[in-house]
């Protein structure tokens, strides 16, 4: 199958500051990919490159096109929500519907109206009169009604309360996602999206440090809470991270044989958040003696 996004050796510098230092990506159709990294790691730069909003060195094809030079054609099949703040504040809800219906050949107005009917958003309201959560709902209503192959979400739920965040992702899964579509999402709130992701990519200092399907994480990583006498033996197996959880050591292992670990204590599959914390430590993995309160 052709990749939706294919990048090789993506490099971008802002003056002397490197933003991306050789990023490789391969995103297949029908996946929900989380691009996760701390502030300044290069998430937004990757997304801008994919959307043709910035220049870069290296190879990048999105839906088989060069996003920088073929941006106009590409935007027929790619949608993005950059940030909750970007819907123009002067616009009326009805104008937003009219406008997108007029310029986007793949927009299904009826679908957007049906979605809006389930919210408190009235057609004659201006964006500036809506709450932050409602603006996001409106934006989502517009985007969900576009039959696009790739949807890119950059911190889409920033600044929203938990209820809106939850319903945002529920709507995304139920009303939008199917096997033909691909979603690339960046967020800080790893815990909230990890159960909807099919793939996870960690980026740090402009480099990809982890790129894995979710189901492979359990095979590769394990968290071990060693029995009291086994701590030193467990440490000898070189965990990539160790933390104190209620007075007991919790160690994270990368690529260790499960049976070998099971012999030393209780093991479980780490959450994406656990992995994130472990791999984003200063100095990067492996970090054997870092101790952090859970």
């Amino acid at each position: 199958m052709t990749a939706i996004i294919e990048a090789r050796g993506l490099v971008k510098n802002y003056g002397d500051t490197p933003a991306l230092r050789g990023v490789d990506l391969n995103v297949q159709p029908g996946r929900i990919v989380g691009l996760i990294g701390p502030n300044g790691a290069g998430k937004t730069t990757v997304i801008k490159a994919i959307l043709g909003l910035t220049s870069f060195d290296g190879e990048l094809r999105v839906l088989g096109k060069d996003p920088h030079n073929e941006r106009n054609e590409l935007m027929n099949e790619v949608c993005f929500i950059a940030d909750v703040a970007v819907l123009p504040r002067w616009m009326k809800v009805s104008q937003a519907l009219d406008f997108v219906a007029g310029v986007h050949p793949r927009f299904d107005r009826k679908k957007a109206e049906e979605f809006l009917a389930k919210t408190d958003i009235r057609n004659d309201r201006r964006v500036r009169q809506l709450s932050k959560g409602m603006v996001t709902q409106l934006h989502l209503a517009l985007i969900l009604a576009i039959d696009a192959r790739l949807l890119v979400l950059d911190e889409p739920t920033l600044g929203l309360d938990l209820l809106f965040r939850r319903s945002f992702y529920d709507n995304l899964l139920n009303d939008y996602f199917d096997k033909e579509r691909t979603i690339l999402v960046t967020t800080h709130q790893v815990e909230e999206i990890e159960n909807i992701l099919t793939d996870v990519i960690f980026i740090q200092h402009g480099k990809i440090v982890l790129d894995s399907p979710m189901e492979a994480l359990g095979e590769r990583f394990a968290q071990l809470v060693p029995a009291a006498g086994n701590v030193e033996r467990a440490r000898a197996l070189k965990p990539i991270d160790e933390r104190d959880v209620f007075g007991r050591a919790a160690m994270l292992f990368d690529g260790r044989n499960r049976a070998e670990l099971e012999a030393l204590g209780d093991i479980r599959t780490p959450s994406v958040a656990d992995l994130f914390v472990a791999m984003m430590q200063p100095g990067g993995a492996p970090a054997t003696s870092q101790k952090e309160a859970a």
Binding site: A82, D83, A85, R89, H104
Partner: protein, 323 residues
Amino acid sequence: MNTMLLLVKREFWEHRSLWIAPLVWSGIIIVLSAWLFFVIIPRHAPAEVLQGANVEEIQGLSDADREEVRHAIKTAKSHDVKNTSISFSFLGISQLISSFVCIVLFFYLIDCLFTERRDRSILFWKSLPLSDTQVVLSKLTVALIVVPIGVVVLATATQLVLFALFWMQFHGTVIGNVLADWNFVSWLRALVVELALLLCGVMWYAPIAAYFLLLSVWARKLVFLWAIVPLAALPALEGVFFQSTNVLEFIARRFVGFIQAMHLDERAFDVGRHEAAGPRIGEILDSMDISGVLLSAEAWLGLVAAAAMVFATIRIRRYRDDS
């Protein structure tokens, strides 16, 4: 094409001053004129002038005054003043509205590509299948085509209202007899003059509009100062350091030069030739020379400069990534 229409419509949604401000301005013109017709003139003009249509019927007029009024009516007829008053009131109203609209357009042009970056809504527009060329051209279309056509429509509507008010107040009086009378041909001639002025004006102002668009897409902040300060500072600097006024003359020429190039100022407004009656619309039409603008190297160089600046505007909007 539909996309372009929608983009143009969008500009009027966002920049409501584009249509509200000219409407308010036209309302002010109407209110002030009504005040003139119904309050000021009745208070200050001799009551007799407001009574009968016939000079002979006016009571208590001295022989000398009666003779003067008779002469005025006669001159009015012989010099076609009635027709001219229709033409010139139209031209006057059009000029009042179009100069005001120039100010509105100035603010529109420096703002339209600046605000979308400041409030980051540019990322929403860029998430839709719209090219930067379409977006920038839609803004230029608003400033150079849609709004000028709107000016003609609004000037016509305003004049009709003024004419109706004038007619209500002065119909059947000496003033009414001397001045206003609706005349379609005169109005049409004035319209031709106005359209010629607009056509030449739009062509002449295209580089100025493109310059403001370029500032709008380029400035990171203080776009108003970027637009105004060079226009004042460069001539001042030239004056201080070189004791010359070339820049000032260039700027002045870019703002009002097209009227000189149309030869409107030299022949048609030679008021002395017509005694009290002033220039006639027919003479303005005859003397007017739009080829002086449309075929001038100056105007075409301006268009080339405008095209270059529009091209730069599109490139900057396309490739800058600081949003």
